[in-house]
Symmetry: C2
Subunit: 317 residues, 2 copies
DNA sequence: TTAATCATTAAGTCCATCTAGATTTTCTTC
DNA sequence: GAAGAAAATCTAGATGGACTTAATGATTAA
């Protein structure tokens, strides 16, 4: 349908004219109230009636009377004008961060620790500010951010991702997610308070997604301990990695955010010395000053992360 | 506020452009879908952003991205377009008598017998067809009908009212409302099966509103019986007339629609011979064929009146 | 009957919107 | 890295819709 074909839309200005005629009783009075000539009002309403193919005005003495069609139409006009008024109010409220939708791409593991609590608090504090969350791995998160599909991404560094000082983005560090060793409960080191990674040089290793930060961090940690891990298995899901350990297939490293595990025969043990970790941060496009809504979500994420950090996952300096 | 001042209304066509840009992703695609040039879409959206004083589009690579403001606006646009769609549907349904409002002016006494039951049935059968009722005496009813304030009047003939064959109106007879004599229970004739009016020639009479049909009918009935009643009291409300009889102030005639009375010491007795009566009818303007909604209400009134007529108030031939 | 009020029509003016072409920016490809 | 393609925007000019003025017809009031 073409944009100027009849019936494409209804001109709200004409509805306004009709409403004014209803309230003031005559075309002339409506025209005067709107600073128009009666001729203009008459022509516009005749045009509206033609577009809709219904009679709107009937002659009544030397004045006019609204038809039943016109009254039906006006019933909706009131609703539409009210909706427009709400739209206008919401546009203003958007600038104050009271109304709007902020789209967030997040690491699945960050939902429980950060995004979920933040959304719960925001829902209570600002009911008209909606957060729309979606899962994304680090690659997908940055891609969605670049494409404008999301306003905020909660993610970690990954190979090929933007550098920390990339001017196209603004970051807020949220929490340091420490990686622990995952061992079967029968493993000789499973009961230790910490584990020296070097002692696991001879084990069969289970690695995460090679595109993910965890795999690289694990490799680096092993390299620092002086060996290259013998990776026999790859998984994308942390749960699958834990399941493999549970089955005795090998050992691995798992971020604390993905814990606790649901396998009774698996133990997680902190790494001895400086812990391998990944920094979870929120990142936004840095073009111009962010919307108030986005700033509020970021601030809430920072608050929630700070509380969480005190509890379980100390930031490394 | 002038009709073309900024903020008077929002052009729905521009909202439609914005929605198309949202769905298709680019200005060019939206323009193509609407058979316009990209230039036109760009200019219109720039104008909308200027009118609303909010940014709607941001540059994103070589394309554009919608701002948070734009998404807030579009949330309302969906609601508005849905409302417009409903308006269009209702305009069509009006012609089928499914949707609309019919305004009725009615004799107060006709509500219980005719209009009330008709409204109840219509509410069940056609929930979207609304009847708006208001009280009116015969003079006010015709005046409201002429002024276009109501579509139907339920009334009776009155002095100065339109003649039965007035071409400006169309009538539908509803019920013949017979007038009975009202007597105090101690009156010697109060226990009779009928009363000969001539026997009441010496009584003090209580009359209704002189502008009302009842007063004229009573006068005529008395004249036919060979006397002119000695009217000592006038009332507008039937209830007041009955109260006067109850107080022993005199006798009178009361329409059957106003009965039963709430005074225990008052009796109503039919007039002997041809009963004085007033014809209750529905009347509409006769200019052009009535709206389907109005016709449906009239038809329902006729049905209800026919049923009522069988029960209590036989039509005189 | 005359005058006044109201709506509508006809004709002309003016402004918003559209098209066409040029420009700028950005992405892709060689 | 250069060239080309794609996208949006800008400018200028054309077009159509909306408004005004003036005239007409109908109705009411005096």
């Amino acid at each position: 349908m073409s944009i100027d074909s009849p019936g494409f839309t209804i001109d709200l200005r004409k509805l306004r004219l009709l409403r004014e005629v209803e309230q003031r009783g005559t075309v002339a009075a409506a025209a005067s109230a709107l600073h128009l000539t009666p001729s203009a009002v008459s022509q516009q309403l005749a045009g509206l009636a033609r577009e809709l193919d219904v009679p709107l005005l009937e002659k009544q003495g030397r004045g006019v009377r609204l038809t039943g069609h016109a009254r039906v139409l006006l019933g909706h006009a009131h609703a539409i004008e009210a909706q427009l008024e709400r739209a206008r109010a919401d546009l203003a409220a958007f600038d104050d961060g009271l109304v709007g939708e902020v789209r967030v791409a997040t690491l699945p593991t960050a939902v429980a620790a950060v995004l979920g609590p933040a959304m719960a608090q925001l829902r209570a504090e600002r009911p008209a500010l909606r957060v729309r969350a979606r899962d994304a791995d680090p690659v997908g998160a940055i891609r969605a951010l670049d494409a404008g599909e999301v306003d905020v991404a909660i993610t970690v560094d990954h190979p090929g991702g933007p550098r920390r000082d990339d001017p196209r983005y603004a970051r807020i560090d949220l929490i340091t997610d420490i990686l622990d060793v995952v061992l079967h409960e029968d493993h000789p080191l499973a009961r230790g308070r910490t584990v020296d990674l070097g002692l696991l040089a001879g084990e069969e290793w289970i690695s995460g997604n090679p595109h993910d930060a965890c795999a690289a961090i694990a490799d680096n940690a092993c390299a620092a301990a002086g060996f290259i891990p013998d990776v026999r298995h790859w998984t994308v899901e942390y749960d699958a990695l834990a399941a493999l350990v549970s089955a005795g297939a090998g050992v691995g490293l798992l971020p604390r955010l993905a814990q606790p595990l649901r396998f009774g025969n698996v133990r997680t043990v902190p790494v001895a010395g400086p812990p391998p970790a990944r920094l979870v941060y929120a990142i936004t496009r840095a073009g111009r000053p962010a919307d108030a809504t986005t700033s509020i979500v970021l601030q809430k994420l920072r608050e929630v992360a700070a509380a969480r950090h005190d509890a379980t996952s100390p930031l490394v300096p």
